[in-house]
């Protein structure tokens, strides 16, 4: 990585740190505190066998997916998906359950075959050049899975060996320390809690120092404290130059962390943009009003009724278009009908609103 890219990451990280706190607060979460992790150097030079032999410095896409189709006997799971993840990007892949996110990730990881299209990791075809593609890729599967026969250290040594790394203990020790598994390094996997097992899975994905890290709902079922700790660690990975591809159901986290987001629904890509632009997409804002009347609908002018999203007693919730609707105009319209507004609450659209709106339209 050149110095300009490093600087860009540093600046970007600082901005993102600020957003992380703002959005967490907005979502009613405890602000994410800086958890101090032992320093990990992810750029230690890998051994010759593990080091990719091609020149990838000019490759701009970490993952490149072209016209990808996956058909199961009863369902067309992916319908011609085109997608490119830039190198060094923190990329979010969102979608409702069954949308095709995990299928897409499994195809990138070589776990699932596909019918048409092409998938490349750092310009290596995942079928024809699968060895290099898999070396560049570290995948944390969605389900917590583990081998009950081995200890944490054995698991990591074995995973390391699969990737051709014989003497990798120094790096394994760093990972164990960084993921706070030191006390459990020689414990059998069965003795670990769910959160610890998930951290071992992250260590397994990183044991060969992949440039691209794919995390398929890594915080599902993990408690708040451990989730924060995991995000902190993943954020550090990104800051050190790794491309991160993330799927999550915690949309506020995706909003806070991801630079670009793709939304997939029923096997189709329905949105792909920077997080900022997605948030700015004409979803508008929500205006919640408390009125003195118990029948607010009767006093609301016809033009406002079409914007009504919710009605509860003397409270109404209106969905306003971003550019065309003015809050002042709404208040004036109500006032002209004799309604008295006693309370006002304005909520800007967040990623969840965008997500719901886009998948609803679909």
């Amino acid at each position: 990585m050149d110095s300009i890219a490093r600087s860009a990451w540093r600046v970007d990280r600082a901005a993102r740190d600020a957003r992380l706190v703002v959005h967490s607060a907005k979502a009613g979460m405890t602000n994410i505190t800086r958890v101090s992790h032992p320093q990990v150097n992810f750029h230690t030079r890998p051994s010759r066998e593990a080091r990719p032999t091609n020149t990838i410095t000019k490759v701009s896409h970490a993952i490149s997916i072209t016209r990808l189709h996956k058909r199961y006997p009863t369902v067309h799971a992916l319908k011609g998906v085109d997608l490119a993840v830039e190198r060094g990007e923190f990329f979010g892949l969102l979608g409702p359950n069954g949308a095709g996110k995990s299928t897409l990730i499994n195809i990138v990881a070589g776990l699932t075959r596909f019918n048409e299209g092409s998938v490349r990791v750092l310009d290596c075809d995942v079928l024809k050049d699968y060895r290099r593609a898999r070396r560049y890729l570290g995948v944390v599967p969605q389900e917590v899975v583990f081998d009950p026969f081995f200890t944490v250290r054995e698991v990591l040594r074995i995973q390391s060996g699969y990737f051709g790394l014989g003497r990798n203990d120094a790096w394994i020790d760093e990972l164990i320390q960084a993921l706070r598994l030191t006390d459990k390094a020689d414990a059998n996997m069965r003795e670990l809690s769910g959160g610890m097992k998930r951290r071992v899975m992250i260590a397994q994905a990183l044991v060969h120092k992949p440039e691209v890290v794919v995390l398929d709902e890594p915080t599902a079922g993990v408690d708040v404290e451990q989730r924060k700790s995991l995000w902190e660690f993943i954020w550090r990975l990104h800051a050190q130059g790794h491309t991160i591809v993330l799927t999550t159901h915690y949309l506020e986290e995706a909003e806070a962390l991801c630079q670009r987001i793709a939304i997939i629904d029923r096997g189709e890509l329905i949105a792909l943009d920077t997080t900022e632009r997605l948030l700015a997409r004409g979803i508008g804002r929500t205006l919640r009003l408390a009125l003195t009347t118990e029948r607010p609908l009767e006093v609301a002018p016809p033009a406002l009724r079409s914007k009504l999203r919710r009605l509860e007693g003397n409270r109404i919730e209106l969905q306003l278009e971003k550019d065309s609707d003015s809050i002042i105009a709404v208040l004036d319209a109500l006032r002209s009908e004799g309604a008295v507004v006693t309370d006002i609450e304005i909520k800007e659209a967040d990623l969840e609103d965008v997500f719901v709106e886009l998948t609803r339209r679909q």
Binding site: G110, T112, R131, V145, P148, E154, G161, Y162
Partner: protein, 253 residues
């Protein structure tokens, strides 16, 4: 081929059965010893086998090969089905290993377990009888090829099965009958023509007969025929297995 990756997968598979050696190594040796004591005591002097060969000396090579067959199959099949059911097979599938490397490691580890159990059965049988070794090279060759056939079958069964029940069916309705009805306890010469002909269709019969030839220097059929049949069967099964692994049958959906 990436030797480090193959070796690691092989090592992991060996470590897996060593960690539960009471179940994977000691138990089958004790079972074979019980067969030897019961059948050896009951049938010694009552069953004619090969001229100049005692029944117990005839029985021991059969028991050794039966143990090799059953344990070799059990290792590859149980490891695969456990990894599939618990989901940890994903860590192997994510690794840059080819289907051939995957095959070599699983078959190699299963052969290793089969041979260790076979050696154990032979050693515990020694205090009870004297078993000559007429052709050590033939003995070793048949031990290796005879262990490889069920190891490959185990990979097929482990890949095919999606639940333990299916694997138990494969083991109880295919492997167990084939290994018991393969001349472990009797010479095919003592069977009626029909059952003798049926036994000739059983590939495990050739593995056991060739292996026994390595010990006592005699068999029901030519050792060359046995070698040809067992090797041919091994190549056929290996071809099928490699194809299944290459297309990711029931591994990469």
């Amino acid at each position: 081929m990436r030797l480090r990756g193959v070796y690691t997968l092989f090592y992991k598979e060996v470590l897996r059965f060593v960690k539960v050696l009471l179940q994977t190594l000691a138990a089958p040796i004790v079972t074979a010893l019980l067969y030897l004591l019961v059948f050896g005591q009951a049938l010694e002097g009552r069953v004619d086998v090969f001229p100049g060969v005692s029944y117990t000396a005839f029985l021991v090579p059969g028991l050794v090969m039966m143990s090799i067959i059953q344990n070799s199959f059990a290792n590859s099949s149980s490891s695969l089905i456990q990894s599939k059911v618990t989901g940890n097979l994903v860590f192997i599938l994510l690794a840059p290993l080819s289907h051939f490397e995957f095959f070599l490691a699983f078959v190699g580890a299963a052969v290793a377990r089969g041979l260790i159990v076979g050696l154990g059965v032979y050693l515990v049988a020694l205090p009870f009888t004297t078993v000559p070794i007429a052709h050590p090279a033939a003995l070793l060759l048949f031990a290796a090829v005879g262990a490889a056939v069920p190891a490959v079958l185990g990979v097929i069964a482990g890949v095919w099965a999606v639940k333990f029940d299916q694997l138990a069916g494969f083991q109880n309705f295919v492997i167990l009958p084939l290994s018991f009805l393969s001349g472990v306890f009797y010479s095919l010469r003592s069977l009626p023509d029909f059952w003798r002909a049926v036994s000739h269709l059983n590939p495990f019969f050739y593995a056991i007969d060739g292996f026994r030839y390595g010990f006592v220097g005699a068999g029901d059929v030519s050792p060359w025929l046995s070698l040809a049949v067992v090797t041919g069967f091994l190549l056929l099964l290996s071809g099928i297995t490699l194809y299944l692994l290459k297309i990711g049958y029931r591994l990469r959906d």
